[in-house]
Amino acid sequence: MVPEGLHYTKAHEWIKVEGDRGRIGITHFAQSQLGDIVFAELPQVGRVLRQMEAFGVVESVKAVSDLYCPLTGEVLEVNSSLESSPEQINADPYGEGWIIAVHIADPRELANLMSAEEYKAFLAAEEH
């Protein structure tokens, strides 16, 4: 459950780059670790985030988890349907459960993120 073509953080976010825009969510691994997600706190559109800045929170029944922005950029859109249906993050973390979209300020920062292969190796190492 680590799709090709996305870029990954060590904090288990993904970003899908489409031109100068990036769509962001948390990985299948992250949602499975959290369990039933019952609350999402999202940023305001227009907020400028630095790479790996905390931008919001997802809460499962038992845990609170910060969300980190994979790349520097301005928030263009938030998935406001998560306010009423945060469980979409569990059901479809790479699709309907996306969290925000940003305008990518500096594509060179992608070098700091992991490919699907690298993220799979990272997860395997985390399990040991």
Binding site: G35, D36, V38, F39, E41, V57, E59, S60, V61, K62, V64, E83
Partner: protein
């Protein structure tokens, strides 16, 4: 953590939990299942059908001898002399300040034989405390290693257990227990629990635990029984406003502050903490444990501040979503003037004040 070895203890069901895909966590020095299918799913199973919990980590301490009752009367604020053989009582081990060493249940097996069921993390501390305050003609023994414990909880619990035992469960009332056999194994069956549902707690010798666990799952799965972990146990007990030691009750808050005055029987005579509680009752308490629901968006978690305007008035002790009510709920200590039903205050969640309101507890009460 076990101080001596740094290792977590495991119950006889450890491998069974792993086979069922449980996620294991450290809890009170034990490696316990926190969830199998998912907390919300397991929570619903207990409210609507039944759930099976491994609670073998709980401790059991036996008191024997002609002085056993006197010892219990001295150690606890509730009146154990009111117990008949086969009855269970919710109580506490109290400090001289009227705060909690632990909360416990007391089982009366005979005039000279009682059991105390205690919290896993407190077992050694409780045992030492009891030994230190023992009266003459009473002996105390930690029998936790001789005992595993399963909790079968939910509206279908009786129907499931009936398939496996000839014990007449229909006549076994709430907070009563009976010794008998389940699938031919000698057990102690207690109509108690920690979920707010009808159900049973079954004390069993450790070597038979896997057999009984499997038999209960086989008998119950057709009517919706699910294995449940500590995660669902916590959301269920919070809805039923059952206190959790280390969060809602501890050695810093008195039994009266914890809103458990109903287990304090001052007229029964001397017990550890009585003087402090008499004084506090006369003077009035300055803070009280209350139940609240969130009015604004956000989930209260333990240690979040409770404020009124810019003034700090208390702290959250437990909080989370209530799957049965579809609201976010919590417990917390507040200054007494903010404890009345309907009082509004704010919970500080990540720097933001979010409105909450004191509500009647338990949050959830079963209809039947």
């Amino acid at each position: 953590m076990n101080a001596a070895t740094g290792l977590l203890k495991r119950t006889p069901l450890f491998e069974a939990h792993r086979r069922l895909g449980a996620r294991m966590v450290a809890f009170g020095g034990w490696e316990m299942p926190v969830q199998y299918a998912g907390i919300l799913d397991e929570h619903r199973a207990v409210r609507e059908h039944a759930g099976l919990f491994d609670v073998s980590h709980m401790g059991e301490i036996e008191l024997r001898g002609s002085g056993a009752l006197e010892a219990i009367q001295r150690l606890t604020p509730n009146d154990a002399s009111r117990l008949s053989v086969g009855e269970v009582q919710y109580s506490a081990l109290t400090t001289p300040d009227g705060t909690f060493v632990d909360d416990i249940t007391v089982y009366k097996f005979a005039d000279d034989r009682y059991w105390l069921t205690v919290n896993a993390a407190n077992t050694e501390k409780d045992f030492a405390w009891i030994r230190e305050h023992l009266v003459s003609n009473a002996e105390v023994k930690d029998i936790s290693d001789d005992m595993a414990l399963l909790a079968l909880q939910g509206p279908r619990a009786q129907e499931i257990l009936e398939k496996l035992t000839s014990v007449d469960l229909r006549t076994l009332r709430y907070f009563r227990f009976v010794e008998g056999q389940v699938i031919g194994i000698d057990c102690c069956i207690s109509r108690t629990g920690y979920t707010g549902e009808d159900g049973f707690e079954i004390y069993i010798p450790p070597q038979h635990t896997v057999t009984l666990w499997n038999a209960l799952l086989e008998a119950g799965t057709p009517v919706g029984l699910q294995p449940c972990g500590l995660g669902a146990r916590d959301t269920l007990r919070l809805e039923a406003k059952m206190a959790l030691y280390g969060q809602d009750i501890d050695d810093r808050h008195t039994v009266l502050e914890a809103d458990l005055g109903w287990i304090v029987k001052l007229e029964k005579g001397e017990f550890i903490g009585r003087e402090a509680l008499v004084r506090q009752k006369a003077n009035g308490i300055s803070r009280k444990l209350v139940g609240f629901e969130m009015c604004g968006r956000g989930i209260a978690r333990p240690h979040y501040a409770i404020v009124s305007g810019s003034q700090s008035i208390g702290e959250v002790t437990s909080g989370g979503p209530s799957p049965s009510l579809g609201k976010n709920i919590g417990l917390g200590y507040v200054a007494t003037q903010y404890a009345a039903i309907g009082t509004e205050f704010d919970i500080v969640i990540r720097g933001q004040s979010v409105a909450a309101r004191v509500v009647r507890t338990p949050f959830y009460k079963r209809a039947h």
